[in-house]
């Protein structure tokens, strides 16, 4: 990979990578740190990383850095749907986007990451599997469960609205 290709990767993927991490962490400063750290790692391994694999490398590195951060901060928590609905009833949302955003934040970390990679980046199961280190079936199961959770959450909020 050349310096030019590296700079092109910055142009093409930095925003997407930032969105992916920011949506997961909801911490802009930490997301920026992770992006800088990720590209720094790419720069160090510039000669080893192929330009064709750079996107996957970036998302993989950023994902694992993020997971390490989440584990460190003990933010990886499971959600009791019953308590979630109680919580959601006490809030007011003006549109579906906010409801969906709230629902996403209540997904378990693994499901949140895979569904974002799927919807935001359009990754197939195989590439999500490579990025997250899960097997393809597990990725598929997580996505399906995330959809069920999101639909249930949206449905409950629509009743409130």
């Amino acid at each position: 990979m050349t310096v030019g290709e590296y700079n092109k990767a910055v142009d093409v993927y930095a925003d997407n990578l930032y969105r992916f991490i920011l949506k997961n962490l909801k911490d802009a400063a930490m997301a920026e740190d992770i992006i800088q750290d990720t590209f720094e790692k790419l720069w160090i391994k510039l000669e080893e990383v192929s330009a064709l694999k750079v996107k996957s490398y970036l998302f993989t590195t950023a994902y694992h850095t993020m997971i390490d951060y989440i584990r460190k901060e003990k933010r990886n928590r499971t959600v009791d749907p019953a308590s979630l609905y109680e919580e959601s009833e006490s809030n007011h949302y003006s549109d579906l986007g906010e409801v969906l955003e709230r629902a996403i934040q209540n997904l378990p970390a693994d499901q949140k990451a895979v569904v974002m990679l799927r919807d935001y980046e359009g990754y197939p199961y195989r590439e999500i599997s490579e990025i997250t280190g899960l097997n393809e079936s597990q990725v598929k199961v997580y996505i399906y469960r995330a959809r069920v959770f999101l639909k249930a959450y949206i449905g409950s909020m629509e009743k409130v609205i």
Binding site: N7, A14, R19, I143, R145, K151
Partner: protein, 384 residues
């Protein structure tokens, strides 16, 4: 087998494990009625028998496959799974057609399908502001390398110009003294003590010349300290200077003759001083008169790395700087020398400038390398 007090325990165990036939069970119960004390043991054994409990894995449903197989058929119960699979693009053409058909035939299914579609995340635009900081400058290393190489080459050329085109340097001696040594030289110590004398360096060839031409006044038997003694006396009368180049008054005549074209003033000892450490007030009567120095018409170096932040240096267009040098078509030695000085200034952050002293006719008679920290003057020899 007849049950008695010696074997009834084996029958009890078989009873608990369910291995006793109906006839043996009836016979055992009859025996226990006749021997009630043996029946107590049956009561003690009963708690050890585990009753069958209905225990189920609470997450069994999670183990089920949550997505339809390509061979799966759409029905009323798996409509949601098919809806998710359709969102993910996992349905075959036939499954997709069946799913669409079910949606079209029922308003409820149509409503449910629209709810499933709402679970898809929409990517909103986000801009990472630090993108420019992540980028690396292409070709910066090469340009910096070229600048360094060019500057080094120019500096070498400058040195060659100054020390090979100038007068014969063998007749002069270079004395270098540190401030501490200079202070020691002003004390009336024994001149034989080497540490109290300024350090003087002279090429070996010059020392040999001294011995052959001035054999009558200097003998090889003299110690170096004795040879330096008169010179030390001269040094005491000079202004305090960190670096000084003096002309040896005792140098051979044939060397002296080479400098006849130089004005008489130039034959006076020259003191090269560090201007930052010496004020004009320190000059004494009889001290060497500085040359009339005029600056060359060279544009000043406006950028000093020492005064720039790293970000500013990073943004410097080094290619433009390089082109400033190379676009010069008239490559005189002065151009090369000044380019070298510029390069050194840019790399080291120094403020060295190259000046020339000229006589009344405008001829260059000497050079001076000057900065805030030092000033070195060098006369330009003119051979007849």
């Amino acid at each position: 087998m007849k049950i008695d007090r010696h074997n009834y325990e084996a029958f009890l165990l078989d009873l608990l494990e369910g291995n006793l036939s109906v006839e043996d069970q009836q016979e055992l119960h009859h025996f226990l009625k006749l021997n009630p004390d043996c029946a107590d043991e049956l009561t003690e054994l009963e708690p050890w028998v585990l009753e069958k409990e209905h225990i189920s894995f609470p997450y069994r449903q999670l183990l089920n496959k949550e997505f339809p197989e390509p061979s799966s058929q759409l029905n009323e119960h798996n409509f949601d799974l098919f809806s998710i699979a359709r969102l993910e693009g996992d349905l075959s053409a036939k499954q997709l057609a069946d799913h669409q058909s079910m949606i079209s035939s029922s308003d409820l299914r149509s409503q449910q399908w629209s709810e499933w579609q709402q679970t898809r995340l929409l990517a909103d635009t986000m801009v990472f502001k630090g993108k420019d900081q992540l980028k690396k400058k292409t070709g910066l290393r090469n340009r910096a390398l070229w600048i360094s190489v060019f500057s080094a080459a120019a500096a070498v050329t400058l040195l060659l110009v100054l020390f090979m085109a100038g007068p014969d340097f063998s007749g002069q001696k270079l004395s270098v003294e540190t401030p501490l040594e200079a202070a020691n030289s002003q004390t009336p110590d024994d001149p034989d003590q080497p540490e109290s004398q300024p350090i003087q360096e002279e090429p070996e060839e010059n020392q040999k010349d001294h011995l052959t031409v001035e054999g009558s006044t200097q003998t090889p038997a003299q110690t170096p300290a004795q040879q330096r003694a008169p010179e030390a006396q001269e040094e005491k009368s000079k202004p305090n200077a960190m670096f000084s180049i003096t002309r040896d008054q005792k140098r051979p005549l044939e060397i002296e003759s080479k400098s006849k074209a130089i004005p008489r003033d130039d034959l006076q000892p020259r003191v090269l001083k560090i201007s930052a450490h010496q004020t004009n007030a320190s000059f004494q009567p009889g001290a060497p008169v500085p040359d009339q120095i005029k600056t060359l018409d060279v544009p000043p170096v406006s950028i000093h790395l020492g005064s720039l932040s790293f970000a500013q240096i990073y943004e410097m267009d080094l290619q433009e700087v390089f082109e400033d040098y190379t676009q010069e078509r008239d490559f005189s030695l002065w151009t090369v020398a000044n380019a070298g000085i510029k390069g050194i200034n840019k790399i080291a952050g120094s403020d060295i400038s190259l000046l020339a002293s000229r006589d009344e006719e405008g001829e260059v008679t000497g050079f001076r390398l000057k900065s805030r920290r030092f000033s070195v003057t060098r006369p330009l020899g003119q051979e007849e």
